[in-house]
């Protein structure tokens, strides 16, 4: 698969991961663009599955990220981004609750939960992305899920969200 095909076919899935890792749409777009730029330059030297490389880079950068500077100044102005469609009320509430809950998780737990349950990755692939053992993935995902259950269960069920 060439780089262009990779971006076209995988960027939506990677953006969804970045969105839940950062909790912010614009930060997620920036993060994904940075990672893809890095891959673009190194494309022929990336070993193994490029998607796994991208996931690992997303997690690394999301974990260590808090840069308001160093934005690319050459980005043209006035470009219309594709906007999300209008949300239904319950989805707005759900998104807000989920993002708040994820934001409160430690970074490793958040990444383990997102990769394991949003991206539906097997444990060994999550471990590769996080650079840790499978046991650590399981414990991080388990702790993260416990906290999400505690936070999301009571806040969402009364609002009529079918869970």
């Amino acid at each position: 698969m060439g780089f262009d095909d990779f971006v076209r076919s995988r960027s939506t899935g990677l953006l969804r991961v970045a969105y839940l890792l950062t909790g912010d749409r614009h930060a997620a777009e920036d993060l994904l663009q940075e990672v893809l730029e890095q891959m673009y330059v190194r494309w022929r030297r990336i070993e193994g599955a490029p998607e796994a490389y991208a996931r690992k880079a997303l997690v690394n950068r999301a974990t260590n990220r808090w840069r308001s500077r160093a934005r690319r100044l050459e980005t043209p102005l006035g470009v219309q981004h594709e906007q999300a469609g209008p949300d239904h009320g319950e989805d707005v509430a759900l998104r807000s609750a989920v993002l708040d809950a994820l934001r409160d998780l430690p970074a490793k737990q958040r990444a383990a939960v997102v990769l394991r349950y949003l991206d539906d990755l097997p444990v060994h692939e999550v471990a590769a992305a996080l650079g840790c053992s499978e046991g650590t993935v399981k414990s991080n995902a388990s702790r993260g899920l416990d906290r999400l259950r505690r936070v999301l269960g009571p806040s969402l069920i009364p609002q009529g969200v079918e869970l």
């Binding site: 997620a28 673009y40 190194r42 950068r61 980005t75």
Partner: protein, 410 residues
């Protein structure tokens, strides 16, 4: 909630985000500039520019003049040259072509794959042949943005396309006693839309800066990566390491937002950055430690890297108050010690004494830390970064692999 329900919730939360339609163009354009990188064979539209082949400078039959727009520059009437540039770069409209000490150079625009956006780039002369630079920048269709390139084998010929904005030049920067970047800018004299100027050849970093006075401010430099050697070109991660120190929870209960957030991030403050300069990130990683002082004020210790050299800063203030930026100095001036782990990798140990007896900021990525006061007992530190008491005199650093290192704290 079951695991399945968690999956459903996460999918619904992330379900409707989708990338910008021009993501691929942006990636291509930005991939050459964001951090240091190797010159490498690349795919996609930019490769058409880079790998479109070398066009010999030898005279060929005259080509048609450019179909649209007036070509600027002292070689604008060299229709044969203009034609060869257009044959080298598919769809190119030559904006400027001029003679330089490094041979003919041209600036062009051409439609990108995204409607409403053009690619802007440069063609240079290498060993007597025309060659397109691999990096291009996206601009709104029909416009030219201030842009520059370094031409010649020693990259010592600066070519600036002004795009109608007056461009000012700064030859170098200094760091003042407060750790701020200081520059002097002088206006460049434009001739028919461009400036050609010899500069000192860069040596793995570039000291100059360009500022567009009547435009976007920043001037895009097309080939910054050529001033950095390949061996420095690995993307080193992480670029910034964030650590929350004990006591942070109380002092930072109300997280700053908006401009107040920048008060606590020296890197976001223009005097400490160099917004019009051209820098590549070659490490070391930057630290940002946030916690609280003994009397409950917010505290941040931060390092900033510019051209491979790091400065350290400390900020302390009550919530809601703007902190003063205290410059602690350059890491190479006694605020950091390099050690080697069991894998043979060199890693830095930060040990910066803070003003007002606030303590000593210490950090070593993924290492266990201990400290002691004079000949007292060694006391463990939680995590790989901390602010330890001002009375501490010695630090021990234990990497995951390899021998422990002891550092005297002045």
């Amino acid at each position: 909630m079951t695991d399945t329900e968690i999956r459903d919730v996460l999918n619904r939360a992330a379900g409707d985000v989708s990338p910008a339609p021009d993501l691929l163009d942006r990636v291509r354009a930005g991939g050459h500039r964001r951090v240091i990188r190797r010159r490498t064979a690349i795919g996609g539209a930019l490769a058409v520019v880079a790998a479109g082949g070398l066009a010999p400078l030898a005279r060929r039959p005259a080509a048609d003049p450019p179909a649209a727009g007036r070509v600027r520059g002292d070689l604008a009437q060299d229709h044969e040259l203009i034609g060869r540039i257009r044959s080298l770069i598919d769809g190119a409209r030559v904006h400027w072509a001029g003679a330089t000490p490094a041979g003919p150079v041209a600036a062009f625009v051409r439609p990108s794959v995204t409607p409403g956006l053009d690619e802007q780039g440069f063609v240079e002369t290498v060993d007597g042949e025309l060659r397109g630079l691999s990096a291009t920048v996206l601009v709104a269709s029909g416009t030219i943005r201030p842009a520059a390139m370094l031409a010649g084998p020693d990259r010592d010929v600066l070519v600036v396309i002004t795009g109608g904005a007056g461009v000012a030049y700064s030859a170098k920067y200094d760091i003042d006693a407060a750790g701020r970047i200081v520059r002097t800018f002088d206006p460049l004299a434009e001739v028919d839309g461009a400036v050609v100027r010899p500069i000192p050849g860069p040596d793995r970093s570039l000291a100059i800066a360009l500022r567009a006075e009547n435009g976007p401010g920043a001037v895009w430099l097309a080939n910054l990566e050529t001033v950095v050697g390949d061996k420095d070109a690995a993307n080193r991660m992480p670029e910034r390491i964030e650590r929350a120190l004990p006591g942070r929870g109380t002092a930072w209960r109300d997280e700053p937002a908006g401009s107040e957030k920048d008060w606590w991030d020296v890197g976001a403050q223009i005097p400490y950055a160099d917004p019009y300069g051209f820098h590549v990130w070659t490490g070391p990683s930057e630290w940002r430690l946030s916690g609280a002082t003994a009397d409950g004020r917010r505290l941040v210790v931060q390092t900033l890297v510019l051209d491979g050299r790091a400065r350290a800063f400390a900020l302390a203030a009550d919530p809601g108050q703007k902190p003063r930026v205290d410059y602690l100095g350059r890491l190479e001036d006694g605020l950091s010690t390099d050690a080697t782990d069991g894998f043979g990798e060199t890693y830095p140990i930060l040990h910066a004494r803070l003003p007002q007896e606030l303590g000593v900021a210490v950090a070593a990525l993924n290492c266990a830390l201990l400290y002691r006061v004079r000949k007292g007992s060694w006391l463990p530190i939680a995590g790989d970064a901390a602010v330890i008491p001002a009375g501490a005199t010695e630090l021990e650093v234990r990497p995951r692999q390899g021998r422990a290192v002891r550092v005297l704290l002045p």
